[in-house]
């Protein structure tokens, strides 16, 4: 099963292999630079040994569409179409998985998707309570009750209009 020149195999932490076009994989800066460093090797298998398969699949899906849309809308309208796709792409991702995804994307150094996921997480927590945010990020409250009450008092208006679902 020899890969053609414009294909590359990405291997997840579980050992699952994904064959992708170079045009897609080259959006992952880290993969791109590893391949450039090792130019000439016959089989191109890149092991992303800390990235789980589900995130590899999401990242490939995003950039596959990105590349396709860019080709199709060369004349213009790409950004609008991409926005549409991003919306639908994010809808199918569980909110808890966004954190794992942002770490994977950061690790693979893929700027466009990184911005999308960071913005999605920010939008998700924007109107959430402090308690929700602590739980979401796995942060332990290290304030005493008095300290926390005092900090809350300083910006009391910032606690209006919070939803917790």
């Amino acid at each position: 099963m020899a890969s053609t020149d414009d294909k590359v195999i990405l291997k997840s932490s579980e050992g699952e292999c994904f064959e992708v076009d170079m045009a897609v994989a080259s959006h992952l800066q880290i993969v791109k630079s590893v391949l450039e460093d090792c130019e000439g090797s016959s089989d191109k298998v890149v092991s992303l040994f800390i990235v789980e398969a589900k995130y590899v699949a999401m990242i490939i899906e995003y950039y596959k569409n990105y590349v396709e849309l860019k080709e199709k809308h060369e004349e213009g309208g790409f950004e609008e179409k991409l926005k549409e796709f991003e919306k639908q792409f994010l809808e199918q991702i569980d909110k808890k998985e966004l954190k794992g995804l942002v770490m994977a994307v950061n690790y693979l150094n893929a700027p466009a998707l990184f911005d999308v996921v960071c913005t999605a997480i920010a939008k998700h927590i924007e109107n959430k309570s402090v308690e929700y945010v602590r739980e979401y990020f796995g942060i332990v409250n290290d304030f005493t009750a008095e300290e926390e009450a005092q900090i809350r008092e300083e910006h009391r208006w910032a606690y209006d209009g919070v939803n917790d679902d």
Binding site: L108, N109, H155, W157
Partner: protein, 425 residues
Amino acid sequence: MERQDDELIVGLNSRRPTNSGRQEAEGPFPTLPQELVVDILSRLPVKSLCRFRCVSKSWLFLISSTRFAKTHLDLGLQNKEVESSRRRLIISSHNLYSVEYRSVCSCSDDSSDIRVVELDYPLKYKPYGWHSSLGYNEDEKFYFRLSEDEDDNPVMVKVNATSSMSLRNWVDVVGSCNGIVCIAPDENMLFLFNPSTGESKRIAEEHNSGLEAADGICSYGFGYVSTSDDYKVVRIDDGSIVSIYSLRTDSWRRLGNFPYDNSVFESGLLLNGFVHWALNSRECENPKHLVVCFDLEKEMFQEMLAPDIDDTSSDIWMGTLGGKLCALYSRNDMQNDVWIMQEYGVAESWTMIVISLPFFRMKPLCLTEREKALLMVDGRLFLYDFGIGTYKFLEVHGVPFGDVYEVDIFVESLISPNHYFEAET
């Protein structure tokens, strides 16, 4: 089999490998490394960030830091969409209000969903005008001394002044930059105010710097100098003396005399690190209108030619629209001309556009999508469509709009006017 030898391992030179790698291995709910927390939080509105100060000590430290405030601000400057979500109007109308720019411009026909926030600003509760000369009682009635009786006892009149108490002082808005608005809630008393966080700092008085206090009408300009990371206020007093205030040193310096015979009263207009004033030709020896710009970094005046307007009897004043300098003047007509300097600093690039809207005084606020502009026209807000030349009056509920004094644009930010002087001591 051969594939094993050729397999390329990613991770040794990656952007943030060790941290992410270690953290990811900790369990199903990994803790995000600090750099990623910064990336996420810098995309949040100021209100959320003020709330999340109490998430943990490290979040409080991060959100309060000057460095994070700048990262947060820079993201808005780089990203158009973020910038537009952070844009606000500040409305001065016997009180200060802030309105989300998006809610103003996205409203279709019903403007009732424009959300107005009444701001808490310095000297808000200082008694207004003549009210200060009266006694004030807790039952919201004024007691006015009419005369004395034979025994020299005061004869008082009780005035129910509840409604008029809602009137506060006029607040002059000098200008805004990076989320800090320079306001004058009382005559020649300036504050740097961040309407998004509520923080403010009173600008030191001149006598603290060994200078005489200015009296009479002064014109001010406000802006930021990136090379020295400093906020400055330039002042031209009615004796034409130019002084400059630096937030870093929290003091005033005298620069010299305004090199023109004209008096300037209006606040200077900030663009590209320069504060601009339009000088009217009838007071100049030179028959042309002139734009004088003060370089906040070099602290020097420069000038450029104003557009070639035949009518030298009318007043001209400066504005900005979509990041470009504008020169405006009123012909007291059904149509007015707006001049836009297409290329900053190039006098030949002044371009005239006709605006089918009568006004005495107009201030362009910002360009919205699709050839529309938000304008402040004679104390009212309008959305003007340059494409088809129509306009729509925007009513903002909760603001007494017949009484509007001034509107300006600012971006919400975490920049604190109190972090600059303290940083050096």
